[in-house]
Amino acid sequence: MIEIKNLHAKVEDGDEILRGINLTIKPGEVHAIMGPNGSGKSTLAKVIAGHPAFEVTEGTIQYDVNNKLTDLLEFEAYERAQKGIFLGFQYPVEIPGVSNFGFLHESFNEVCKAQGVNEVTEEEFREFLKPKLDLLEMNASFLDRPVNTGFSGGEKKKNEILQMAVLNPRLSLLDETDSGLDIDALKIVSKGVNAIKNKYNAVLLVTHYQRLLDYIVPDYVHVLSNGQIIKSGGKELALELEEKGYDWLTKVQ
């Protein structure tokens, strides 16, 4: 689905953060990226999603569009989203004055338009949302509030997964979705992700802690340090990291 080769990226006028990432994700897979603070985990997710603050200086990202690998870097962030790439934010942005419903509706219709499907009316969309709200145990009153404004940490993250459920992306990049969640909210969010996951789509989890991986079980775990993947393995690698910390890997370098 996506092939990242020798990816280097830096902040505009700043230091290089990614220093040669190689990663391939196939449909149906769940990958977890772990690593210490400042290792470049979030940057990797943002670069794939097309955040304008980062500049790719070397390497390629090939992404499957209609069974053909296509240069993803040619597309703007909104075009990548239309092609099925979803970034779940670590800190979802509050947008006062814009209703959550209007935002979701517009977002959904943009994806429909891009994929050549008919747009839906407000009434149809409200119906469409009902089971997804139920899945995330969210009250319908959320829809009429401004986007993320005044939401608790847990509500914001649920709202991210609601958007994921609505847009039904092929590749979801979930950036520290577990941060700021109590155990109940973590269970609900994980239940949501697991329900959306199928053999046609893929998930990249960026996380600090092993805790999330008890609920969303990865096929592969990668450890990122200083802008490079220094170790990859199965889900047991996460447990090992939990036990030993990152030092035993980073010190070897």
């Binding site: 955040h51 962030a77 909104y78 989203a81 979802p92 942005v93 004055g97 517009e106 994806v111």
Partner: protein
Amino acid sequence: MKEREELNKNILDQMMSLNLSSDAQKAFDRFKLQGLPHKKLEDYKYTNVDAFFPKALNIKAVAGELTNDQVTKLARGIKPQLVLINGKVSNEYSNLPDGVEFQISDSFTGNKDFPTDSLEDLNLILTEQFIKLTIKKDSSPGIINILHLNTAEAINSVGASRLLVNIEANSVARIAEYFNSPDQGSYNRNHMTELTVAKNANAEHVKVVTEGAESFHFGSVKATVEANACLHSFTFTTGGKLSRNNINIDLVGAGARGEVNGLYALRGSQQCDNFSHINHKVERTESEQLFKAVLDDVSHGIFTGKIIVHRDAQLVDSSQLNKNLLLSKKAHADTRPQLEVYADDVKCAHGATVGQLSEEELFYLESRAISPRDAKIMLCHGFVQEALDKIKHVETKKYLENLLYTEYEEDIHQRMREEA
């Protein structure tokens, strides 16, 4: 300086021939001393009106007519209860509801204690019809839409009009005044609205300035609010080359409340100067103020908000906020919150912000498949909605949303298409 003297002399010469009432004569004498306002005056620091008083300007009322079709077109979907053409009431369209008394007189009947600036003096000198509406005690007559229209004859002339609304005790008044014109030529409008809001009354006054692109709009709203009464004032500006909105609210009875809000969305080289004074004259009065600006191209938005809490006006609660959204690098915002407090037990908050669209908010929307253009529009809508939501009369609010989202934006959309 010499030039201004000549402009003033020209205005005075033309006014000499007018037949003035004693109040107008006093205003004339004041104007003779002060002349046109200029940037050296603190209250007009950012606004120069000279260009709108050229020598060729005709300083007196002009007659003119509009066909039914023209009026309908200019009303843009508004059903008017009162129509003024070139500052004079057009009997054909007057349709005031029960509970409203209507009078026209040829001399000033309003509050003589309000301080005036020289454009307000000019209004008193030049107004020929003083219109008075009375909202009867205990009544609730519904919306009164007033259309102020100019004809082609008004080009290169200054037209003055004046409205006094007495809102009697326990009544509910909803008034919206719309200023519009069919022609793009340069005209100079000077309108004043005076409101007296009696005990326990609940009043809303919405002023909508969508004047022609070359025009100068000078408008002044002066209100007194008595005990336990409430006035919601809203000033909406998207039109005019230059507009100056004076707003003066006196809270004179305990429990009086003033909400003084506004929105100005400017583009091209438009300039809008909102100048407000809220006087807390007695104890236990409240005021709340939110003015928002969306400034594009090389437009210039100005806000001055002076709040004065008089001596012995204890337990006053007042808040003020001016927020400016700059859509272009060359747009310019000036904001002056001013607080004068002479009492000691009061709660006053004020603030101002000037900024651009947030990059983080834009990226958030773009990451959800929304194009940069649509994302900008959504964020602008979100920004203005907070201000528009202050309007109590729902149909008026919806009308203005629509007006803003079609006309003002059409231009921005056009330019985005050109840039793309």
